[in-house]
Symmetry: D2
Subunit: 345 residues, 4 copies
């Protein structure tokens, strides 16, 4: 069995693991005050071309979203996202657990539209009942989205302009950021991203680390007590070096982007295979997640050799499935997929 | 200016006020252990034909919803309601404040459809990601709905059957319960309601009281520490008698229903006036709230003499407005409305 | 049976009830935007000599404490109070329910000592683990305290100075404020109080109202979204006039202080009776709550004729009991107490 | 500089790291459903002699405490612990963040006394105001305590008996469990512990892992939705194998206990050195944390060569300091300490 189930089915990229090995015996301060974390942060600042950025390392995506959002919102405020947003669907209510509502607006291919956001805010502010509603206190988007799609630089700029118009901090969830940055046709770079949002995170768990996400407050705007807030959320690691060392490795010699590019290339091979077979796609994704619409019996057939996710029922006889690649995906695995998909047995 | 803005623009019904006056000098126990509260509860039990019902008096609707829902849900669960549900829209996130998500499903004329609920639950339970989602822990509906519409007895029965199928307690928000019970064509009685849900509340604030809602756990199913939970929610009144006395009055000699019937009659006169003028309705409401679609200049014209709510933009040239009646609405006020609406000046 | 159990065993003072009666038929805006609330606020501003004060009416004490405290604290902060503070003991965890810790420091006769607070803050800020602890974000005291004791003007000034030294807003819970202001020997006036804290509340429920507390942000420092925060806490009344009308009455012709002075006079008669009998007091209270140490069999004896609270076990053979007076306490009731206490039967 | 600051200043024990290396390329299921986690759980069940135990892996101590406690308590309940308990002091309010109060009772040498707990519960249940207080819903103790002290088997038995008397689940925080189990004179084994509490956790972070704690619900009593609860708390790791692999290594060939015993031996050497010098101890600790009372100038002198923690001011001229050993502490480091302490320069 070959797994295309997710980008977190393997351990760490060998270079990341090697860094943990090399640094293991050095005695350091705890709680993220170690020199590895400091060096990793500096490398990230440089990669983002953001000397004033404040960077924090947390362990996982849901934890990061809940902690960042709770650090920004006032008690009476909520976070705006599209209906397919990860915080609205698959985080088990972690945001509501911090007492904040996730306010959803319609999506298109998993993306937020700047005009839809603008109209939502305009209507909210003109609604006589606004004071009886949850106040929109920030905006959350994902890059790539949950469907693997990407915003263009222009689209991100438009959203950020609407956010500034209404004084709403913009937060970009980059759980799979690398796969977006390195996708064909993408025109958003790390420095561009850092200039077009208030806070984002660089996903490590899904891009070659054992765990870890790097939160980037882009312009010195982290809450002054963010340390205590992470502790309160159970998100502070005693051995903070665990994440610092990994990000230091990921941001040395472009490893983060090499990993990402490899996975995207594997995904593009996969996409080509499905296309040649004539399978329709649920959405056109240029990143490491591919959503294909399969006849149910084809789902059964492929399941004999491959692990992948049944994303949802498409219609009575079809299912949308998800195939994911990662740093660990091998050409030989895609070859195997190709052989089975294109054959008729 | 005559106000049709809401059913809480006046004080209490004279008989309610009179009861407060008559009982004022009697010394009682506090926190709801007074004899007036006991007597009121017994009268409500009888009106509901539910000898095992447990009854609690709280001060207002949002407080009641948050307290009841939080007393039922486990930490990881959410409450299912339609997208127009009051807890999803106009309670400032009071449910999320208790750490629970409000899970919305589509509505029709403000109502939940049993089949839609059934399909939602079926899909949820078959979703491989269910454990990463907020678990639906109970169902919330309103009677009448936020749009003044009513469930039939059969529709309520269908919803309750789906709830029992999935072991979901059903909670009915009756902020305007009286206006539903006494509406023409309604076939839901208090005893029927009590047998077709797990908990509901009988709204006092909007039906003649100064404040107060009576929560009815229909079959001995209140949380054993509901007292402490109300205290924790800031919902416990030191002078609990304030609400007990009022409900005692409301449930003496059918006052609650007389008040409600009067308001519905006034609303039906109003509805007739708008119909004669040819105004379309946003929804067909048999209760004390009437939603009419007016040309914007007609909104301006009526605003010179009447207070009512601009509910929302209908299209570029039309607005949906809401007119509400109450115990205090006088025939002469409806006469005045009739005169202005039917005239062309 | 005569009850000295609490100051909320009766209804409202007749003049308060009369005001509700007189204003009942007037149609008003809801949610506290009625003219009675406006007028009451203006009268309170004048009584406090604080033209910039922002005033909000809430229904009860626990609700008020939780709402005010949550509106002031950031997510990672807690509220400092003495170990006997009401929020630390008898509010069922309403503050923790808003996710904030109640940080307790030692008390003396129910009072906070400015030096103890100063030392606590000094140690906290010099503790290397401060970032792992709950940050003290504000200070809470009660006036009168839970034991009926009072701060002198000088003591309050000292506490407020420490608060300002550490930039901690000071909040004074005045559930029984009137009984403190009108006590013999008290040198704190409403204007003095308003100048020596950031927010306090004037208790209505325990001083002649049916319900209601007036929160006074003393210098324009209420949260700009306090309205939504009260809604989110379930603390917003649809018929806000209910509390506005009552406070309008309480602050007309000195009623609030007349009520309070009467109760204190009754309490002083009571204190004299216990003193003459030679009973020791648990604490020397100049206000409407008297804490007496009685032999257990004396507790039994007095219980035949009077209702009062067993406050706590004093030692094997003695119990601390609490007697409370209110606006409704009659001279004849104190006479009856005198007769029984001083007799030996 | 040699650091005795904490037991989390180094990376992982080499055998733990080696296990990560060996297993890295194997593709597994995510979210803890990997085979390494399953095998580790089975080994722990055997070490605890508890075939019905349910085991969950979380990342850190504060996170574990908040998640476990929140999974057990009802909304209105709090957790009882001694005033020095970690959840009461150095977790930044993580428990309150889940809306539960930490109810503190007095400690002795960092330990809870069964009689004190019994008396507290007895008084609580007989207090007429119990319903206005936070209900004690479970008990939390630490083993070893924050001061490095240990309960005897008899003391633990006594506490567990009181817990059962009042139907309070007992939770034992074992962040440093190994250092207690392997201490001289300790008579509590893993199986004994598992039979004398309802849930405990085996600390990994402080005992040789990079991160990770193993929660043991001792008798099939984990919340059925504990998975979703960990997700909601941000405590679910996508690559759950990271912790599974480490615990698999720790519970292979007694590694966990070997690590612990080594650290305790180093601590006993340290204790002997301080004793020979005549330094008084703040508390008599048989585990890997030693609390010594030093003259302030001695603190300065030792600080030139060693890193350790200033725990608190003892008196004007003395400070309590903490020295900690771990798996990584070398004999040569203790030699160096010996030389400096015993010298007079």
């Amino acid at each position: 069995m070959i797994s295309f189930e997710s980008d977190y089915n393997n351990g760490a990229h060998p270079k990341v693991l090697d860094a943990l090995l090399r640094t293991n015996d050095e005695q350091t301060l705890s709680y993220g005050y170690d020199r590895f974390s400091s060096e990793a942060k500096e490398k990230i600042r440089q990669a983002c071309d953001s000397p004033d950025a404040q960077i924090w390392f947390l362990a996982g995506g849901t934890q990061t979203n809940a902690t960042v959002i709770d650090s920004i919102l006032h008690t009476y405020e909520g976070v705006v996202c599209v209906s397919t947003g990860h915080i609205a669907t698959h985080e088990a209510g972690a945001v509501e657990f911090t007492e904040h509502k996730v306010i959803t607006i319609p999506e298109k291919n998993g993306k937020m539209d700047a005009d839809v956001l603008d109209m939502f805010m305009d209507e909210f502010l003109h609604d006589g009942n606004a004071d009886h509603s949850v106040y929109p206190g920030m905006v959350y988007i994902t890059f790539p989205t949950e469907l693997g799609t990407l915003y263009t630089a222009k689209e991100l700029d438009n959203i950020y302009n609407v956010c500034r118009k209404y004084d709403l901090p913009l937060y970009v969830d980059g759980a799979r950021l690398g796969y977006g940055i390195t996708a064909d046709g993408n025109d958003i770079t790390l420095p561009y991203l850092a200039k077009h949002c208030d806070v984002f995170y660089i996903g490590g768990t899904k891009v070659g680390a054992l765990c870890g996400e790097a939160v980037v407050f882009t312009h010195g705007n982290a809450h002054p007590h963010f340390f205590s807030i992470t502790k309160q959320h159970g998100a502070l690691m005693a051995k903070g070096r665990l994440i610092g060392v990994q990000f230091d490795a990921l941001f040395t010699d472009n490893l983060y982007f090499d990993i990402s590019r490899h996975a995207v290339e594997m995904a593009m091979r996969m996409k080509d295979i499905f296309s040649r077979k004539g399978y329709p796609f649920f959405v056109d994704s240029p990143t490491n997640q591919q959503f294909v619409i399969l006849e149910n019996k084809e789902v059964e057939r492929l399941s004999k050799n491959f692990i992948f996710t049944r994303w949802g029922k498409y219609d009575e006889s079809h299912t949308t499935v998800r195939f994911v690649t990662s740093w660990a995906t091998k050409d030989s695995e895609i070859d195997a997929l190709e052989k089975v998909v294109l054959s008729n047995e």
